[in-house]
Structures are given as C-alpha cells and as structure tokens.
C-alpha cells in the first residue's frame, strides 16, 4: 500500500502537468476538445488524490507502522475515530489533505462551469493544476506521507498528540482547510480572467459564491479553533495571537475586504483592479500562513515541526507573486473603473474605508507575527511580540471596523445628503451614546468595554432600523403584517439582509470580546470538603478520583458549584481533570470543565493535586459574556445561509399549488436554523 500511495502521488504530478498543458492548448487553439480533456484531467487529479488520501487513511486503520507517518501520529491504543483523523495530524498528511481538498473544490468548480465561463476556464484550470503540482511536488520531495522504515519497523506507533485528540480538533482543521483552500478557486478564476482579458461580470459571477463559502469555512474554522483553545488548553481564553491563529486570520481579513469591495464592482463598476489585488493578496497570504506554520519560521505552541518545506513555499510564493501581480499590471488598462467616487459620504467610500482598515489590520498582523523571526534574522537577538502588543493595535482597529459596520448600511450609494444622514443616524447615535453613558454609570471605567458596548448598541440599532424601515415600507405598500413584511423583505433581498444578519453576528462577537475586561481569576489549594468563592459562585471540592482506561491515567477533581449567597441547592457538578497519556512520551493534558450560563462561564482547571492528602490546586475563572462569541458565529452562519439561499425560480402560472410552498419552506428552514442556534446557545 505505501508503494501504491507513492505511485499515486507521482501519477498525480504527471496528470496535473498533462492537464495544465491540455488547458493551455485549449486556450491557445480555442479548442473545445482540449478544454474538455483538461476538465476530465481535473477529475483525474481529484480521483488520484482521493485514492492516495484513502490509502493513507487505510494505513492508519490497518495499523501499518512500517509507514513513518502512521507510526509518528498513531498507536494501537487510540480510538478508531482519532486514527482516521490522525490523517491530518502531522505535516505531510496535512499537506496531502490540503491538496486533496483543493482537488475536490477544483473538481466541483470545473463541473459547475461545464456549460459556462468556457473562455476563462483554460487558465483557471492551468492555475489550479500549477498549485496542485506545487503541493504534490513538495510532498514527494520534502514531506512524503508514504515514507517507510527500510529496516526494523516498530510494532507500535508513538501516538497522536493528546491535545489533538479532541472533537474540536477533528472539525477545526478540515473547516480551516476548506476555508483556506476555498480562496484558491476565486484566485484561479481571477488568473483565468486576467490571462484571457475577459474581465466583465463572468469571473465575478463564477467565483462570488466560492468567496462566501471560503469565508464562512474560514470563519467557522477560526471559531472552532478558539473553542478548542478555550476547552482544551486550559488557560481560560480563546485567542492569544499565536502565529498559527494569525496565519489563518490574515487571509480572513483580506478575504473579508474582498467580499465587501466586490459589491462595489458589481453595483458601480468601480474598484476593479483593487478587487483583483485583494483576491491575489488573499491567496498569497494563505500560502504565507501555511509556510509560517510549517517551516519553523515562527515559533508557536501548535506549529508543525521544523522542516525544509519552507524553501519550496518561499519559491512558490515568489513565483505566484510575480506572475499574478505581473498579469494584474498588464491588464490594468482593462480594469479602469467606469464610475468615479462622487462623494466621501457614500456607501462606496464606506466600503473603501472598510477595505483600508482590513488591509491595514492584515499587514499589521502579518508584520507583527513575522517580526520576531525577521529581528532574529537581522540581529541574531530574540524578541517576543506578545498578545498585549497585538491588543494595543488591534482593539482600536477592530472598534473602527465595528463602527463602519454600522455606518455602511446607513449611507446611500453615490452620495448621501445632510438631511438623510441626520434622519438615518440620530437614533443609532443616541442609543449608542446612551448605552455608553449607562455602562459608565454602572461603574465601568475601562475605555475598551465602554466604547465596545456603545458601538455594539449603535450597530445593532442601525441593523434593526434598516429592517424596520424596510418592513414598514412593505406594510404600507402591500398591506402586509409585520411578520409577512419581514419574511418577504428577507426573501426579496437575501444578500442584503443575510449580510445584516452576519453583521449582527459580528456585534454579538464584539459584545463577547468586551466581556474579557470583567474576567475574574482565582488560583488556590483546596482540601477535600473545603470551598472557594469566586464571582457569584461557591465551589466545593468533594473528592479526587483516579482511573485508568488503558491509554491514559486520569485524575479527576469532583467539584460542586453553589450560589455564593447561601444557596444549598447545587447549581452544577464539575469534573476538571489531568490526563497522563502513556504515548507520546508521558504527555499530560488538562481537561477543563465549565458551568455555562447565558451571561458567563465558570471555568475550572485542575492545576495540580496531592492524592495522599486529597488536596487539589484549582484554577477557577469567571468569563463573562464569552458565549456571545460562539453565538455570534452561529448568527454569521445563519446570515451566510440566507445570503446564499438560491433565488426563487419563476414558476409557470399553471404550476401545481404545492410548488408554491417552496419559498415558504425555505423561510421556515431559515427560521428553524435560527431557532436551533438560539436553543443551542440557551441550552
């Protein structure tokens, strides 16, 4: 099987090369035959990589420890579930997973465009194949997952890092990869359009939904990563500006800028070159992020081991930069805007400002992440850029973005007049200022939560106002009830109102971030039967228990949580634990437990223990509003669902009546999804 796997990788290189050549010939000769052949070539690459990936998974399942990668990242005691997911647990396997996912996306994109956008498809396929070839070549020459021990193959594996044996780590990397790699498809379409010179609406139509899909997967991946850090690492937070987190955050920032500014191109035929630049930057940042985490360039708690694939990535990033920016410069005359910016008080300008801020944030995060490595390379001295430095800059940047989230929808395209500004802004501004005043009166003196709460209220009111005014217009015009008017409004302008729901999700996230300012932490030694008070809770240590499940030793603290003000009824029972894995190398993990309510989490970690005296070192934290961060992500998903919901097809007049139920069913599904998210949050 390992030989079969290696052969598949080599065959993929050949197939990708042949496909790229066929596609280039299709463009040169304008031949439908060559293009069709190239399309099947893309399916061939997908088939070969599927074979290779499944072969590697099979090797994990079959416990073939003669394969180095399998031996390094699994062992016999691991549950089957984690054996399968260990596929992406290490460097070379995750590279294979990466290129496999890209082949899946590529095959879907080509299939979607089998009857359209034929003119730009050849170089879209060439680009896709070149990127695939790069990853496969890197694997074959520098990180082959099918490498075997020549002699003396071990009979058991070293085991997967216990931190990765967590349900969130099962869903987080695929989601992140789907998002990361999703940006490759719009990039390929952009290059296809640049080479062909057909820069009208075709390529935008072809890649618009891909951008949204990539963006939503990246958002979910980042949130799941935050959840994993929160529930597995035991430090009580969800974001630490770690280089690996930053690597995924950088393309998210430029991708978000692109999703916004592409609307200006669609509506006003402006920012054409800017949009091209943004999609190229987003793709290059995904490559840079991948290089940072895999080459040992930056130090991180969860970066992959140092390896020499950095040279491959460095070369390819340089190549991709030169080619894509060269094409952009070459096509600049065709990318001239058809309208000029008429006023700075317009939605176009709000989008541009949003783009500048997002781009500034992306460059800041990239620079600050790479700074320690650059500094060490230049001076030989170690320097650390910690979370406080990132927060110093990123909190104001984030708040400006939040402000623009509220301002943008209130402005009109082209220009806004003073009267309309006053009419649109007075209520949100009043509520925003009122909220800040109320929070100030409540005793909060830190500027970050004060401004955040005020801006959250401002943006929430702008969104509510938009919904209400739209619904009121429909109620007057069509004599509809509020509910019907709101549902019709959503149905008729899904992109706009889906976007608003995403923005509301962002408001909830910022509301959750603001909770960090009110965090309470306590760390103390507690004996069996003793209690400790924190926030509104009293926590009692009932017992320390010891168990072994064959894979690990588990020490668990049994805690009971009560209301601080004399309540005798327990609110919850918590079981924070320490797990001592036998493999790899006696690794220890802290298993967090928490008591969650809508407004806060009581977060418990077992720091240490003394089994003889039945005492435990407990780290307790109260994290206010943290659940709003996850709820915000759920709203973003809901908004995405609304925005990409397919347009209602016009039915023939004689269509059966039940066919007309489809829109109602769509609306019901959206409402159900929303209700589920809300229930999950409350539950």
């Amino acid at each position: 099987m390992p030989v079969f796997g290696e052969a598949l990788l080599l065959a993929t290189m050949v197939a990708a090369t042949a496909t790229a050549c066929a596609a280039a010939l299709a463009h040169r000769r304008g031949s439908n035959r060559w293009l069709t052949s190239a399309e099947y070539g893309v399916y061939t690459v997908f088939g070969l990589l599927s074979c290779a990936s499944l072969a590697l998974i099979y090797l994990f399942v079959a416990e073939d420890y003669s394969v180095k990668y399998v031996q390094h990242y699994s062992d016999r005691s691991m549950p089957m579930f984690y054996k399968v997911t260990a596929f992406w647990g290490g460097q070379s396997g995750s590279l294979l997973f990466w290129v496999w996912v890209m082949s899946i996306w590529g095959a879907i994109a080509v299939w979607q465009n089998r009857h359209k956008n034929r003119a730009i498809l050849p170089y879209t396929i060439v680009t896709l194949m070149v990127v695939s070839m790069f990853f496969v070549t890197t694997m074959v020459f520098a990180a082959n997952p099918f490498d075997t021990y020549v002699v003396g193959a071990p009979t058991d594996g070293r085991g997967l890092n216990p931190l990765l044996q967590n349900p969130y780590m099962v869903s987080h990397p695929p989601s992140l990869y789907l998002g990361y790699i999703g940006w490759t498809i719009p990039f390929c379409f952009a290059i296809g359009a640049l080479v062909h010179g057909k820069l009208d609406y075709g390529w935008i139509a072809a890649m618009r939904k891909w951008c949204l899909v990539a963006w939503v997967f990246l958002t979910v991946g980042l949130t799941l990563g935050g959840l994993w850090a929160y529930e597995e690492l035991g430090w009580g937070g969800y974001w630490a500006w770690d280089p690996v987190e930053n690597a995924a955050f950088m393309p998210w920032l430029t991708g978000t800028a692109f999703i916004h500014s592409i609307q200006v191109q669609e509506r006003r035929k402006m920012y054409k070159a800017w949009n091209m630049l943004l999609i190229i930057l987003t793709f290059l940042l995904t490559l840079l992020g991948t290089m940072m985490t895999r080459s040992g360039v930056v130090q991180s708690v969860h970066a992959f081991a140092q390896s020499d694939i950095g040279h491959f990535f460095g070369f390819f990033i340089g190549f991709a930069t030169v080619v894509s920016l060269g094409l952009l410069v070459w096509r600049l005359p065709k990318l001239r805007p058809e309208h000029e910016l008429e006023s700075v008080v317009s939605r176009e300008f709000a989008f541009l400002a949003n783009n500048w801020i997002l781009l500034a944030a992306a460059f800041f995060v990239t620079f600050a992440t790479l700074f320690p490595s650059l500094f060490k390379g230049l001076t030989g001295q170690e320097v650390n850029v910690g979370p406080s430095f990132f927060n110093l800059w990123m909190i104001p940047i984030g708040l400006v973005l939040l402000f623009l989230t509220g301002v943008g929808p209130l402005l009109s395209w082209r220009k806004s007049t003073g009267r309309s500004l006053l009419d649109q802004f007075w209520l949100p501004s009043l509520v925003g200022l009122g909220t800040t005043g109320a929070v100030l009166a409540y005793g909060v003196r830190q500027w970050e939560p004060l401004v955040t709460f005020g801006l959250c209220a401002f943006v929430a009111v702008t969104l509510g106002q938009e919904l209400w005014r739209g619904a009121r217009h429909r109620m007057k015009k069509s004599n509809e009830s509020v509910a019907v008017a709101l549902a019709t409004l959503m149905q008729r302008a899904k992109r706009r109102y889906g976007g608003y729901v995403v923005h509301f999700g962002l408001v909830l996230m910022f509301f959750g971030f603001a909770g960090n300012a009110f965090k309470i932490e306590k760390e103390m030694q507690v004996a069996k039967g003793d209690s400790v008070e924190i926030g509104d809770y009293r926590v009692r240590l009932d017992e320390l228990s010891f168990r072994d499940d064959g894979q690990k030793n588990m020490v668990t603290a049994q805690l009971t949580v009560f209301d601080r003000d004399g309540g005798t009824e327990p609110l919850a029972e918590l079981e924070p634990a320490k797990w001592f894995y036998r493999k790899p190398e006696e690794q220890v993990t802290s298993e967090v437990d928490k008591y969650s309510t809508v407004e806060e989490d009581l977060y418990a970690v077992l720091g240490g223990f003394d089994g003889r005296n039945q005492t435990a070192a407990l780290q307790l934290k109260v994290n206010p509003l943290v659940n709003f961060v996850w709820l915000g992500c759920a709203f973003m998903l809901l908004g995405f669902g609304i925005a990409v919901w397919p347009e209602r097809k016009k039915l023939p007049a004689a269509a059966p009546a039940w066919n007309r139920l489809a829109p109602a069913a769509s609306a019901a599904s959206i409402m159900l999804a929303f209700a589920s998210a809300a229930l999950a949050f409350l539950g």
Partner: protein, 228 residues
C-alpha cells in the same frame, strides 16, 4: 437556448470511445471488491469501507482518464470555445441590475436617498435593467436564428415562432449584439396587461409567466400594469 447549438459534451455519443473505459472500470471495480474483502481483516469494518472507497476512487480515476483521452477524438466536441460566458455575464448583470433597483427602492423608502436624486437614480437604474433584458432577448433571437439556419441547412425547415420572437432577425448569424439598445431599435415601453392564468399571471406582451408583485416582465422587459 444556447443548449440547442452547444455540443453535448456529457452525452455518450461516441460509443467506441466510451465503452472501453466503462468496461475497464467495471473490471477494476470487481477487483477492488474482491481485494477489499480479502484485506478486511487488517482494518476491520472501517478498513473494508476505506479500502472500498479507495477502490471506488480508482474506478472513477480510470473513467476520468478514459474520458480525458476520448474527448480529444470525440467528434461531438468539434468546434471552437464559444463565448457563452457573455450570456452568463449578461444574465448576472441583469440579476444585479434588478437587485440594485430593488435596493434603491428600499433605500428611497427608508429615506436614505435625497428626493431630488431619487427620480434620476431610479430612472437610470430602470433604463439599465431594461437595456440588459433587451440585450438578452436579442441574444436569444440570435441563437434561435442560428439554430433555425442549421436546421434549414440540414433540410429540416422550421416555422419561426412569431409570438416568441419579437426581436428582429440579425443581419448575419454571426452578428453579436453589442452597444446600447437605443442605437439599434426602439424598445416597447408601453405597459402590458397582466392576464390572469390559473392563479398566476402572464404578460400580455409575450405571454411569459409573471409574479403578482412584478412591475416588469422578466422576459420582454415591458412594464406591467399594476393590479387593481
């Protein structure tokens, strides 16, 4: 409409080219099942499933390779890369124009647009949407005429559907619609009546189905009379 003249790439119109890969794929598939059964002991049920999926992927690959090679000899794929993308881009632009019009109305209703500006913006947006609808209709007509010519060349004369083709026949089949509509012919801007049909409505101008809320016919672009 373009489907009438576009070569059917997915169809199996070249039996000699396609049957052998299928046969080979079936043989490989059978081999995979046998191998999977033999190797199931190593990875248990999950191993069997993964191995079987791997085999299925191999069969798919064999099929794709076969099609990639046979496409180069497929006579149905003869011909240059056409510019169907223009059509796609036009339709996308039309969708955006209609969406923009809808949003503009919402903005006007919400008081975001200066009343002095509103009329001008609305008129411009409506004109743009109408132009796009008309260009699409011309595109339809061009393709329909090309198809009719093809059929006539084959000796299969067709009667043009008068009610479905109000656009004039282009001077040459190769002539592509371009430039502003106003340059070439006047657009019928007279409001059309809404004819009730089985609980829905049709445009009296072109008989296409229209919604009760629609103010323009999505097919011919004529304004529709308001329902009273």
């Amino acid at each position: 409409m373009d489907g009438m003249v576009e070569p059917s790439r997915g169809s199996s119109s070249a039996p000699s080219a396609t049957s052998s890969p299928w046969l080979a794929a079936a043989q490989v598939g059978l081999g995979v099942v046998v191998l999977a059964l033999l190797l199931a002991g190593r990875g248990g049920g999950v191993g069997f499933v993964v191995f079987f999926a791997c085999g299925a992927a191999a069969v798919f690959t064999a099929w794709a390779v076969g099609r990639a090679v046979s496409s180069l000899r497929d006579p149905t794929l003869e011909g240059p890369l056409t510019a169907e993308g223009n059509r796609e881009a036009l339709e996308h632009e039309k969708r955006l124009a209609l969406l923009g019009l809808r949003e503009l109305e919402a903005d006007i209703a919400a008081g975001k647009v200066d009343p002095a500006d509103a009329d001008h913006l609305k008129r411009t947006a409506e004109q743009k949407a109408l132009q796009l609808i008309h260009r699409l209709r011309e595109d339809d007509a061009t393709w329909r005429h090309r198809a009719e010519d093809l059929l006539r060349d084959e000796g299969l004369g067709v009667e043009p559907e008068q009610s479905q083709s109000p656009a004039p026949r282009p001077a040459s089949p190769a002539a592509k619609p371009s430039g502003p509509v106003a340059d070439r012919r006047a657009f019928d801007e007279r409001p059309a009546a809404r004819v009730p049909v089985d609980g829905g409505h049709r445009c009296a101008g072109c008989e296409a189905s229209v919604g009760a809320q629609d103010r323009y016919c999505g097919s011919c672009g004529r304004p529709l009379e308001a329902l009273t």
